[in-house]
Symmetry: C2
Subunit: 146 residues, 2 copies
Amino acid sequence: MTRNNLDREITQRLNDHHIRYTKGRQTVVDVLSASDGPLSAAEIHGKLRGRVPLSSLYRSLSVLEEAGVLVPHFGHKTVTRYELAEWLRGHHHHLVCLDCGSVDDIELPENLESEVTQLVTGIGSMAKFSPVNHSLEIEGRCVRCA
Amino acid sequence: MTRNNLDREITQRLNDHHIRYTKGRQTVVDVLSASDGPLSAAEIHGKLRGRVPLSSLYRSLSVLEEAGVLVPHFGHKTVTRYELAEWLRGHHHHLVCLDCGSVDDIELPENLESEVTQLVTGIGSMAKFSPVNHSLEIEGRCVRCA
DNA sequence: TTCCTTGCAAACGATTTGCATTGGA
DNA sequence: TCCAATGCAAATCGTTTGCAAGGAA
């Protein structure tokens, strides 16, 4: 999705939720959309050179999460990382490096992804569970740490 | 795995690591092996009616994690939940309920599981990533909340 | 004895909240 | 104007750590 499209979509969505798309919130979205993996509040804070106070960041994050713009990811450690929601960022899975702790997104080719979806559907009916979404979390070593 | 087997395996493993399998640590393992999903320190503390102080629980958990007996699971929220490691508990995936937050384990029939494994292997070579383990996290609604 | 484990209390780090101020519709 | 959004500082909550006491080898 182009940056303009992203902006339009989000503005729209926030309007629907009667939430303002303020400068601070745009900043958060900008940083996250430029990232290739989920980021924590502290990481975003760092990328903004501390210009936005942490408390405001946390507030922006939770507002954007409620609106369905962001999704939290709980990879490892005590910190929560966020990324753009699927309808903005596309469906993907995660590669979690056991050594450096980095979390990278990965998009599967269509055929593989549809296999996963079928699997999930099957599991749902097998377990009397109604799947809403899924994520394949793969732990291992990234290229840098291998 | 029977409870006696479990005990023997763990004792062995801890011996190898020069770590004592004390009463407190056994208690933690007992509670976790009786559970059908990962539990947080606070939850274990509750099940033990507060008889074991939280700080000791946390210490037991981290010792058992280092020894490879327990594995942390970061489902939702800020709390870390633990469960027995795969070599004790068997490989499985997670069903995370979006409403009540419960995390249930699910074991896939062999054919489905091998599909997942193949997928993971494929993804690894595709992404220059060395998979060590994987987990399919399915979010949705459990029977109770559906 | 010697080293590991435990309990308690204090310390920490991530996140949340109260309150006064600022800013946008 | 009026309510939502922000900044700051204080409060919370999960988790970790220092230190003295208890236990096993």
